[in-house]
């Protein structure tokens, strides 16, 4: 696996890394700027999470090479993602009795 990348491949990868770096810097500035508008909480959370997800995906896909990973890794991460969502959502739903009670 380590031997399938040629020098040209690496050069291409490096160009991608630089592009992603610039994108990450830009998105960092965006997220800090948006926060200064002091949007209402639910909108602020949505925007911040969308930007963070984009940034996180860039790091995962390109720095961590997830975009070209093998199926087994995708399967493990997919399973983890499901349980991650369960862990974040269910305790709050249970304690606050579902969506409709605030």
């Amino acid at each position: 696996m380590s031997s399938d990348l040629s020098a040209a491949d690496i050069d291409r990868h490096v160009r991608v890394y630089v592009t992603v770096f610039v994108a990450l810097m830009a998105l960092t500035i965006v997220t800090v700027t948006v926060s200064r508008f002091h949007l209402p909480v639910s909108e602020a959370v949505t925007v911040a999470l969308i930007i963070a997800t984009i940034k996180g995906s860039l790091v995962a896909c390109y720095f961590m090479h997830l975009i070209s990973e093998k199926k087994l890794i995708y399967a493990v991460l997919g399973l983890t993602a499901v349980f991650f969502v369960v862990l974040l959502a269910l305790p709050s739903l249970t304690v606050h009795n579902g969506f409709w009670i605030h």
Partner: protein, 594 residues
């Protein structure tokens, strides 16, 4: 019982010195590197198994002491009382605080230091690489580290008994807040101990999963895996993904106890007439959610390796393939997945709304289906079989009805209405002990008698085995069956006098005495096992590679296997349970024979 002669196998070797096998270039390792800080999965497996068995004995002893107090509340314990001192048993009578320490530590030790190290660390480490035809685990050094983390965790837990400020943890193995937040320093030791144990399991899980996927022999596809391999594989995923939230929760409880935070402390808490001065705003239910997120999958960690062991032994001693192997495997996978979304059935009484209660009740009912599929398949596997009633098979057979009782009695607990009167009573204790004690522990005993010859080159004594079995089976039922009656009568768990102060409990209190005598007799019947275990190392009947005429790959290695396990890399040519194949010369056709 006829013993077919075993042809010489290319992968096996008659009886050479163990270190001739692989390492022409290896220097002989010193005593410490070979037996203490070994990276060989077999040595590590034996370390885990021995540690697990010792802790099982210790945890059981804690319970035998508790049972005196339950049978004869307030009565002085003969001579042991004076040894334990005035802070625990003044004048030989047990203090409630000490009872609570015994209770909390019995649970903690049996689950995390007894069963899991033996079932996963012991059997998993020793058998798994051999059964998939691998030379060792994928990460041998990490394997060694994972054992020593367990060891450190165990030492921490034991040390907590003798620290001066109030003794060991005493807020239940569940460490519910806010009680555990304000408890004595033994609780802090419990939390630190848990961090070590969780780390050990996480490292182990990474190792098992990687090894199973990557180091399996040529021809050993997933659907040719012995069921034991599947069981350990799913168990490892449970450990990997369910333990970290408890580690997070333990960190938060440590912060509450040591740094004065209020993660779990609500505002306005009053303790012994004094209002607490902490910031408040915390949520005790948060602890429960994070704890049970782990602890529910944990109960499947407790049972799955045992099911794997029983499956192997039943196939071998019925001389037939397992019935419904494929559905058993799919059930295992489905069970593993579902185990992550049922946890709040341990929290039905916390005031959750009907929607979420209905959700968790539904997932809980659904999860009983795969368990039933697995158990039923094992029972149907007996139909039309030529059963060999050796000691491993006796334990494996007893597992079936015992686990059946345990499982069925769980159903009223999983339905939130019937859980209302049964919650936190002796019924719950009876339910889970049936699954773990005559359930899992019987399966582990079966596994010890079954794989002992592979690990030592000798069989354990059959007569002592049968005595151990019969005595244990009867006593297990004497101990736990009456607890259903007590629970149905409303006797709560964790009462240091067994319910003696309650009027409604009076008609059923005598069952405490029955359970206690059952427990002490059960302890007595472990003596033949302990004796047998050591005696057979030197005096047991000597065996070669395959004393049980089994079909799975571990039986092609010498008994005991050398470093590196196999001379040549084994290959799998067929499924794991080709017994009684029509037209074949022997009644078994090993997976590894060309």
């Amino acid at each position: 019982m006829s013993q077919p002669t075993e042809p010489a196998h290319p992968a096996a070797v008659a009886a050479p010195k163990p270190h001739v096998a692989h390492e022409v270039h290896h220097e002989e390792l010193g005593f410490w590197r070979k037996y203490v800080f070994s990276t060989d999965h077999k040595v590590i497996g034996i370390q885990y198994a021995t540690t697990g068995l010792l802790f099982l004995l210790f945890g059981f002893s804690l319970m035998m002491l508790m049972r005196w107090q339950l049978a004869y509340p307030g009565a002085a314990v003969p001579w042991l009382g004076t040894i334990l001192g005035d802070s625990r048993m003044p004048g030989g009578t047990m203090l409630p605080e000490f009872y609570n320490q015994l209770g909390a530590m019995h649970g903690t030790i049996m689950v995390f230091l007894g069963v899991v190290p033996l079932a996963v660390g012991g059997f998993g480490n020793f058998v798994l690489p051999l059964q998939i035809g691998a030379p060792d685990m994928a990460f041998p050094k990490i394997n060694m580290v994972s054992y020593w983390c367990l060891f450190l965790g165990g030492v921490t837990m034991l040390a907590s008994f003798v620290i001066p400020d109030g003794g060991a943890a005493q807020s239940g193995w569940t460490s519910y807040v806010p009680l555990s937040d304000i408890a004595g320093s033994g609780q802090t030791w419990w939390l630190i101990g848990m961090v070590f144990l969780i780390t050990s399991s996480l490292l182990g899980a990474v190792n098992f999963i990687t090894t199973t996927i990557q180091l399996r022999a040529k021809g050993l596809t997933f659907m040719r895996f012995p069921f034991f391999v599947w069981a350990q594989f799913v168990t490892s995923f449970l450990l990997l993904l369910a333990f970290p939230p408890l580690e997070g929760a333990a960190v938060m409880q440590l912060m509450d106890r040591v740094a004065g935070t209020s993660f779990f402390l609500p505002s306005g808490l009053v303790v012994s007439g004094q209002a607490l001065t902490n910031a408040g705003g915390g949520n005790p239910l948060l602890w429960q959610h994070l704890f049970w997120f782990l602890a529910h999958p944990e109960v499947y960690v407790l049972i799955l390796p045992g099911m794997g062991i029983v499956a192997e032994i039943i196939a071998n001693n019925t001389r037939k393939p397992l019935w419904g192997y494929r559905s058993m495997v799919y059930s295992l996978i489905f069970l593993g997945f579902m185990s992550f979304i049922v946890w709040a059935h341990h929290m039905f009484m916390t005031g959750m709304g009907t929607t979420m209660a209905a959700f968790f009740q539904t997932t809980t009912m659904i999860i009983s289906i795969p368990s039933v599929v697995i158990l039923t398949s094992l029972v149907i596997s007996l139909w039309g079989a030529s059963i060999r009633f050796n000691t491993p098979m006796l334990f494996a057979l007893a597992f079936l009805p015992m686990f059946g009782i345990g499982g069925l009695t769980g159903l009223p607990l999983g339905l939130n209405i019937t859980d209302i009167p049964l919650h936190d009573t002796y019924y719950v204790i009876a339910h889970f002990h049936y699954v773990v004690a005559p359930g899992t522990i019987f399966a582990l005993m079966a596994g010890i008698y079954y794989w002992y010859p592979k690990a030592t080159g000798r069989k354990m004594n059959e007569t002592l085995g049968v005595i151990h079995f019969v005595g244990s089976l009867i006593c297990m039922n004497v101990v736990f069956m009456p607890m259903f009656i007590m629970g149905l009568a409303g006797v709560s768990r964790r009462l240091f006098d067994g319910g003696a102060t309650y009027d409604f409990a009076q008609p059923v209190l005598h069952w405490n005495v029955v359970s206690s005598w059952g427990a002490w007799t059960l302890g007595f019947f472990q003596l033949p096992f302990i004796f047998n275990f050591f005696w057979s190392i030197w005096n047991g009947e000597k065996v070669t590679e395959n004393p049980w005429q089994a079909t799975t790959i571990e039986w092609s290695a010498p008994s005991p296997p050398p470093h590196g396990n196999f001379l040549g890399a084994p290959e799998a040519y067929r499924g794991p349970y080709e017994y009684s194949v029509p037209g074949a010369p022997k009644d078994f056709w090993p997976q590894y024979e060309a």
